[in-house]
């Protein structure tokens, strides 16, 4: 039987608003869940999604996507790829699945909130598909690593990470809870669909796929681009929200929501994506540097979309460009030094050739970040590996929950930005994280960082062993160690290398 063209019935099918007679509209759509901006319902009814899909089409297409992802996995399972993979590459997968899999379930709830509470009927329709998308992403990214748990217990963090108090989990969850879980339907859409999914997910889910394919891991490369094809669709929920807000005099509010969310997600994703791309992939497998991917997907593509929908670059854009040169380098050094706290095995990965590559991609790397590694390399080459393991706790940012750090060596830029609020002193890594706090102190003021928990007695006794246990290290699996057993320092034995003298 011939089907009607979608465009002939679509408008009727998505017009599902009604006039409530048993309850007040404010009970049906409470402002703090639906729309704190007070935009009239008739305005929300003009919501016209640019990326249209019917349920029938959705189910067909999603079935095809899943069939593709699962059949590639099944076909390649016999290749014993993971049994023979570079341990630093496996660390990337452990970090990815631990950070992402259950975040997708969280995103499912965010879309469910839009599905229930949005006053725009078309948005409810699209968010229903978004909700199903995120459910798929949660399930598939638990299923794929599940077979790897028998290979290496650290893969169990795919399922466990979000249930622990590991510092990396706290950082990720703090950011995601802020942008996805604790906002009204409209702000969630601005923060999640636009700031997060239109921007930074592309670097992880598309950019990283090119590197993964170079490593020969077509299962993962295929999986993440398949997931991103869902994101490309439901990310479009945000665009009409921005249009309607601008038209109704709420441009500043929309801009602020995007500025907050973009920064919060950036601070976390720089670790997730930036560190593996620039340090963990073998040199010959690197497609491009993290910075180059950021330029392609964020500075060029996302910034252009932001301007096109009528908004501006975030006010901190210059600071953000500087952070692309800095943040993940600092955190690579920090995470490697505190490696027993994490659920993956990071590699130092810094032989002479890798340093040349970093210097070429990030001019000045040797004179700044490199100085920290000079000491580490010297200790490793002279039989003092115990001196490369950090003792004590770093200062942690009260916003991003990440150790406060910046360039060292010839440019000592690390400093703490503080704010006194209701008798408590808060520490921040940058003026931007402090600005986020200032936008809504009430939202953020009661949260305790992992270091706060040490001082307020929550981690008791505050011994090194107990801190690790509190974070799940040694509980869910063994904590991290250098992925290559320090083999990468052997490159300096070669005559003529910088650190060889």
């Amino acid at each position: 039987m011939a089907l009607l063209d979608r465009s002939r019935w679509y408008d009727i099918a998505r017009s599902t608003n009604w006039t409530p007679s048993y309850v007040a509209e404010s009970e049906l759509f409470p402002p703090d869940q639906s729309d704190p901006y007070g935009i009239p319902t008739a305005e929300w009814e003009t919501f016209d999604e640019p990326y249209k899909v019917s349920y029938r089409e959705y189910v067909n297409v999603q079935r095809e996507k899943d069939a593709g992802a699962y059949s590639v996995k099944a076909a390649l399972m016999r290749s014993q790829y993971y049994e023979n993979a570079d341990p630093a590459y496996l660390s990337l997968l452990k970090m990815h699945y631990g950070a992402i899999a259950l975040s997708e379930y969280a995103a499912c709830q965010s879309d469910a909130r839009m599905t229930r509470f949005s006053k725009a009927p078309s948005m409810r329709n699209m968010a229903t598909f978004g909700m199903l998308d995120e459910l798929r992403h949660g399930q598939i990214q638990l299923y794929f690593p599940h077979q790897l748990v028998t290979l290496d217990r650290q893969f169990d963090w795919a399922h466990e990470a979000h249930h622990t108090r590991n510092w990396a989990t706290l950082a990720g969850r703090h950011a995601l809870d802020d942008v996805m879980m604790t906002r009204d339907a409209m702000t969630t859409s601005l923060m999640l669909n636009f700031a997060f999914e239109t921007g930074l997910t592309n670097v992880q889910m598309i950019g990283l796929s090119a590197d993964a394919a170079n490593m020969g891991d077509f299962t993962f490369a295929n999986l993440i681009t398949s997931i991103q094809s869902d994101e490309a669709r439901h990310a479009q929920i945000g665009t009409p929200v921005i249009e309607i807000m601008i038209r109704n005099g709420k441009k500043a509010e929309a801009q602020q929501a995007i500025d907050v969310a973009f920064w919060r997600i950036w601070r976390v994703f720089a670790l997730l994506t930036g560190i593996p791309m620039d340090y963990w992939f073998p040199l010959e497998k690197r497609d491009r540097s993290f910075k180059e991917y950021m330029h392609e997907f964020v500075i060029t593509q996302f910034e252009r979309q932001l301007l096109d929908v009528g908004l501006q670059r975030p006010w901190y854009w210059e600071q953000f460009l500087d952070d692309i040169e800095t943040h993940h380098h600092c955190q690579q050094a920090g995470i490697w030094s505190w490696r027993n706290t994490v659920w993956w095995n990071p590699t130092g990965g810094l032989g002479p050739d890798e340093r040349d590559w970093l210097e070429q991609k990030y001019p000045g790397w040797n004179a700044t970040h490199g100085k920290y590694w000079d000491v580490i390399i010297d200790n490793l080459r002279n039989g003092r590996p115990e001196k490369t393991e950090a003792v004590g706790m770093p200062a942690i940012c009260n916003m991003c929950q990440i150790p406060i750090s910046n360039k060292g060596g010839t440019q000592w830029k690390a400093r703490i930005y503080q704010r006194e609020h209701e008798g408590r002193r808060y520490n921040f890594c940058t003026p931007v994280c402090r600005w986020v706090f200032d936008t809504e102190p009430k939202r953020y003021k009661d949260w305790n960082t992992i270091v706060d928990r040490l001082y307020n007695g929550e981690i008791n006794p505050p011994t090194a062993e107990n801190i690790l246990r509190y974070m799940g290290s040694g509980v869910v699996s063994e904590g991290g160690r250098d992925a290559h057993g320090y083999d990468w320092v052997k490159g300096y034995d070669r005559p003529g290398t910088e650190a060889a003298e």
């Binding site: 979608r6 899909v53 089409e57 593709g68 090119a210 394919a213 170079n214 398949s226 094809s229 593509q301």
Partner: protein, 103 residues
């Protein structure tokens, strides 16, 4: 597919990012056919192919059907549309990527 990249990228490029494979090859051909007046820039990154042109691009269902030699629902492109630059418009008979502002 070979990469053809201009020295400086215009600020007004828009178009699809396709997952590398059979559909990407067909779609690149269709896009070149459907946008005869445009200089289409194709960057092949193996797992994804960035296809863009100044001011954006259109791809038509009819052209895809001719190239593939079988019926094609426009929605099928979603399986391989991993992202895009610019804004998007979808229809049963075409997909279009465009920009509102000319910078």
């Amino acid at each position: 597919m070979t990469a053809s990249k201009p020295a400086t990228r215009s600020k007004n490029m828009a178009g699809p990012l396709l997952r590398g494979g059979e559909i990407a090859v067909a779609a690149c051909e269709a896009i070149q056919e459907d946008n005869p007046e445009k200089q289409v820039v194709i960057e092949d990154h193996r797992t994804y192919v960035r296809v863009e042109a100044e001011g954006g691009l259109i791809i038509r269902r009819k052209t895809m059907e001719e190239i593939l030699g079988r019926p094609f629902r426009m929605q099928e492109l979603e399986v391989n549309l991993t992202g895009f630059s610019g804004q998007i418009e979808t229809d049963e008979n075409y997909m279009r990527w465009y920009l509102k502002l000319d910078l």
